[in-house]
């Protein structure tokens, strides 16, 4: 694949991520922070996010496993998770967190569990897509926001 073709492909993947609502404007903020001195800034942040989210997800799961569910604690964790998601622009995951938080506040255990599963799924999907995106971008030799 020619360089320009690769680049086009990268751009197109990136565009679809936004169009399909996986990413929002905050992701662009991260891209803007990337420069020659910090060439992999976006990927580094996303990696940080994954690591931190694994921790949060475990905590949330643990909270959901307890009976009765400690909704206050759960809400706190979800709030943190949502904050992380929003900071990298993970739009769909963030929306699930918002919904999850509502269920927490209303004490709806089933709603919480259900929504949390969706949030995990969205996170997994996003992760896959971003990984392939970054890989392609590296291969194309062009940064996402070139």
């Amino acid at each position: 694949m020619s360089r320009s073709q690769s680049q086009r492909q990268v751009f197109s993947i990136r565009k679809s991520l936004f169009d399909q609502g996986f990413l929002d404007d905050q992701f662009i903020q991260l891209e803007d922070l990337q420069d020659e001195a910090n060439p992999n800034f976006v990927e580094e942040c996303v990696t940080l996010f994954y690591t931190d989210s694994v921790r949060l997800i475990h905590s949330i799961e643990h909270t959901l496993d307890c009976r009765p569910i400690n909704f206050n604690r759960l809400e706190d964790l979800v709030h943190q998770f949502k904050g992380s998601c929003s900071s990298i622009g993970a739009k769909k995951v963030k929306n699930e967190c918002t919904q999850l938080r509502e269920y927490c506040m209303s004490g709806n255990a089933e709603g919480c569990i259900r929504t949390f599963q969706r949030a995990k799924q969205e996170l997994a999907v996003l992760r896959r897509k971003l990984e392939s995106y970054f890989q392609m971008a590296r291969q194309a030799g062009a940064s996402a926001n070139a």
């Binding site: 905050q26 903020q29 991260l30 803007d32 922070l33 001195a37 910090n38 800034f41 580094e44 942040c45 940080l48 996010f49 690591t51 931190d52 706190d76 709030h79 943190q80 949502k82 904050g83 992380s84 929003s86 900071s87 990298i88 622009g89």
Partner: protein, 680 residues
Amino acid sequence: MNLSSGGNRSMSTVASSCGGNRRPVDAVSDRFPAGLRVLVVDDDPTCLAILERMLERCLYEVTKCNRAEIAVSLLQENRNGYDVVISDVHMPDMDGFKLLEYVGLEMDLPVIMMSADDTKAVVMKGVTHGACDYLIKPVRMDALKNIWQHVVRKKKHEWKELEQSKSREEVENRQAKQAEEADYSSSANEGSWRNSKKRKDEEEDLEDREDTSTLKKPRVVWSVELHQQFVAAVNQLGIDKAVPKKILELMNVPGLTRENVASHLQKYRLYLRRISGGVPQHPGVINNGFMGSQEGPFGAMSSLTGLDLQAIAASGHLPGQSLATLQSAVFNKGNTLSGMTMAGMDQRNIFSFENPKIRFGEGQQLQQMTNGKQINLLHGIPTNVESKQLTSLHHSESSIGSVSTQPNSHGNSSGSLMMQATHPQSRAQLLNEAVSSQFSKAPPSIGLLNVSNGAGVGAVQMRNNNPVHDNRGTGFNLVSQPSPIPSFPINKSELAGSGFPLASAPGVMAAKGMLHDEINSRMKGSVGYTPNYDMFSEIHQPKFHPWELQGVGLQFDCSHRPNTLQGNFDILPSVKIQQQDFSSVGTALIAGSAPAVYSSGERTQYYRTQNTSQQIPGHNSVKIKGERIGDFDSQNNLIPQHYGQEDLMSALLKQHPGSDGAADGEFDFDGYPSIGNIPV
């Protein structure tokens, strides 16, 4: 992941490169805002990394840490090493608000809060705790680019405060002397004692401060726990009665000296004033909130809830005191006051826009207080006035008027306490907030605001007794108390009259009664009664700070009224003035009412009736503060940086439609010229 290990000080290469000389002073001054030293605290590693990168992009010198305790130790190690702190609200080891308070008090640095939570309550909390800004996550570059303004604003503000506090001290000293001469009741005597003691303490405080800076004595590290002990002691004593020696005794911390406590107390007062001035503060903020707990006696903040107020009242006694003071001032009757207060308070809810209950608690406290305190306050207030005032209180009119009742006293303008809000800004803001939100409720806040100067309502009153004392720290109290101070029920009806009359002792009388009705109707919402204090206080002569009015949202435009009033408080003027906007009751009162009394005479008290009440919590208020100061300065030459109530009072008094020129004549209550003018 722990991006910042330990107390890390990670300096990015970017920061280093732009740091150039790397000397903080140079870095800041040469390429300002580049090189601004930012300490960012967030437990979320992703956010922390992003923030760091963004700040580097802004050419700031960034230090990041993921735990509040680490941040605190970093700050303590290097007190002058940072220009601004950005902190997350939700952190596992320490509540962001506690850190905020600590930094605000100890370091006196601007603190910016951030959170993914954008609910009004939380944002308001940030504001009331003294945050100079509140960012909603996810944070964007744009938001960070301009944080340097907070540094500038704060420095400017502090400089002003310093000057003002000095001049205020002088005034207080003068007042103290005068107060002593006044023929007061026992409270007065107490006040005298207190005055002299306070004066002495304050002088010592000042010396301490100076010594500390010049001699570089080993500093006591005011940890969060120690500070909480301090706050507890202060609350127990009552902010207006809190003297370093007693605080020291209560704290019972080995190795702590009176000087340590004195300087910390001074800082605390400044802090309270600062935060109360900006926005109606959260009740808890003042005292308890100072370091940790969010609750404070003052609860001036809009988020005050009944609980808060009560807590505040209970904790600090201030609310009660202030209320009492106000009440007593107004009514000169313990009972009535309390009754009134309560009524008034409910409505008024100056700060706590939400909870009338609080007021109740406050009122009750006040009751107790009032009984004791009234004496001086209402000294000269005519009975009818009082009764009217009482009624007005009920009407949820701004109790400001009631506050003003105090004025009679003796010059102390304690009455003005209310008005005087320690901080021009804070008061104004408080007033604004109060006014705006409460307008109907009776911008008690206005009164309260004033009170803030002195330690809440109590402070106001105290003025008479302890002018010195009140002026200084009281600011906090007053302000914070959201409701207690019946803040003048701006409402039109009674308050109007009642409030002002206080203004000058002689003038106050004038207010007697007649004013009430008239004023009330006019006043609409002008809270301006508080100005009463000013009026009376011979000591404080027109301290009228225009800014006070401004913030409050008082819309009066004092500008066109040169205050020729001297001493007489003519309530009328204030009433008149208010006309401007009585919509924002608070402001109106202050602005308008003051006019008369103040002797500022020729000065045209320009109250900018800004109606800041509209400000958006958090941001606006914060900003306003900064802005206001400027305003005041320009306008207020006359007023000696005396924040206290006098300012408000003066402002109100000043409002006195300068048109009349003759202070005495104008405020003739009979004439109550203002009435006519007051656009009800």
